[in-house]
Amino acid sequence: MILLEILSAVLLAAGTLFIVSGAVGLLRFPDFYTRIHATGITDSAGAGLILLGLLLRTTTWEAGVRLLIILLFLVVTGPTATHLLAHAARRDGVPVWRKGHPRR
């Protein structure tokens, strides 16, 4: 049991680190598209690891099933929303930042 707790704590800590990194990347990266990449870390690695960490701490099977369903939903809805945002930006002609350009 203590082993599970440690593993869960490691997963939660790693997930938190990824979420903070996503936020920092959102501020530091130069344009819309690269910033979406940064939030992608929060979406996928951060949320995924935190849900896995919580899954190891569940005491009832209902909570476990719900966490698994949330995980599946995130895997489907997260990238779909991200794709739609990027697609809309592309269609509206938001320019792509290239190496050497000043940051916007």
Binding site: T34, H37, G48, H87
Partner: protein, 179 residues
Amino acid sequence: MTRPRLAPPDTGVTRSGGTGTIRLIRWAAPLLAAFWLLLSGHIDPLFVTFGVISVVLACVLAHRAGLSLEKGPTLGLVLRLPRYLLWLVKEVLVSAVTVTRQVWSPRPNLDPVVACTPSRGLSPLTQVVYANSITLTPGTLSLDLDDEHIEVHALDSAGVEDLGDGRVLRQVHRLEARR
């Protein structure tokens, strides 16, 4: 700067579908109801009413979108999905570490590229799986798609080259094999 315009994908989906959609709803409605009960766990009148409204709303949306059972996932695909997801988790973690290093490096070495990667021979459903996997992996992002390509924005050229060598595509093909 060239900006390739991709034709809208031919998904083969007809608007506000006919019999196929009715068949889908006949399958999906009980499933959705069971799903609601599992998640809510309350059986008092108020919550059951909310549940019924949600199920009807979901079915109306499915009908409007013209979804049908033929375009949906096969049983084989659902069975092969866990193995694919496990592989995807590994990929996501590896590239998340790469992008995280860029985020924290004092001078991020970004060289974004936009390129088309082939997605020939995939069914509409597996093309969505492929495009979503690209987006889910930090460092690559699907911008647009047509029947044969997916337009990808990547943080550096290595991201597009990784897709180009077909490693991800092979896994997606394996997902729809033997149907």
